[in-house]
């Protein structure tokens, strides 16, 4: 996708910082990631109850 010249620097910076943010999240210990996963499971079930039949948050 082409970016307009006057926006280029700002947009490139946003994309770069997003990339860094995701990279940092990747580096979290797996135990921390599992805690995040439990929250994501809860959100997913609440957000789409119809599509989540039979799914439940891990009971750990």
């Amino acid at each position: 996708m082409r970016i307009k010249k006057e926006y280029k620097e700002v947009i490139v910076n946003i994309f770069e910082s997003k990339k860094e943010f995701h990279k940092e999240k990747s580096k979290l210990p797996i135990e921390e990631k599992i805690k995040i996963l439990l929250k994501l499971q809860e959100i997913a079930i609440k957000a789409n109850p119809g599509k989540m039949e039979g799914k439940r948050v891990w009971d750990i």
């Binding site: 797996i30 997913a44 891990w58």
Partner: protein, 167 residues
């Protein structure tokens, strides 16, 4: 998840499986950021007599004996739905053989290496596999040389290159 892993380790100690490694979304989470999933995929290597069809019954019977319940294709082990997947082709066999030993909390376990995870994603190529493979590529968490070797060996290079062209 530690208790679940301990039960799976017992399956190995009891020689019901020869080896295992965590695969799927949870394995991916060891290397990239969290993505929502509801089950734990366990790739297993079983002792198969030549010419006989494989059966998961010994594993299931043992788990039933321990009081773990079954829900469709999953076994609920210590609060987590676990799916046992016998290594079903040469790629998954090699992935399991080369899996990485690691520790979860205080328990030893094994996880499929990222390069094999990506190769398996390219092989299975469902929408969620493509999404996850893209995250691995973006996160640059793969040894490209090793990935290329695996892709060549299993004839997946063209599929991978076509996929990368879409990025």
């Amino acid at each position: 998840m530690e208790k679940t892993i301990q039960v799976i380790n017992q399956l190995k100690e009891e020689k019901l499986i020869l080896d295992y490694a965590i695969g799927g979304a949870i394995a991916s989470m060891f290397y990239i950021e969290v993505a929502t999933t509801f089950d734990l995929d366990i790739f297993i290597k079983m002792n198969i007599e030549k010419g006989k069809l494989i059966s998961l019954s010994p594993i299931y019977d043992w788990l039933k004996g321990k009081g773990y319940l079954f829900e469709k294709e999953h076994v609920m082990i210590e609060g987590i739905p676990v799916q046992f997947i016998p290594s079903y082709n040469e790629l998954t066999e090699e992935a399991l053989l080369n899996s990485k030993s690691t520790i979860y909390e205080d328990t030893n376990t094994k996880v499929i290496r990222p390069e094999y995870l990506v190769a398996i994603m390219i092989d299975t190529f469902r929408a969620k596999d493509k999404e996850r493979a893209l995250k691995f590529i973006e996160a640059q968490e793969i040894n490209d040389k090793l990935l290329q070797t695996i892709l060549v060996k299993y004839n997946l290079t063209e599929k991978y290159n076509n996929f990368k062209k879409l990025l």
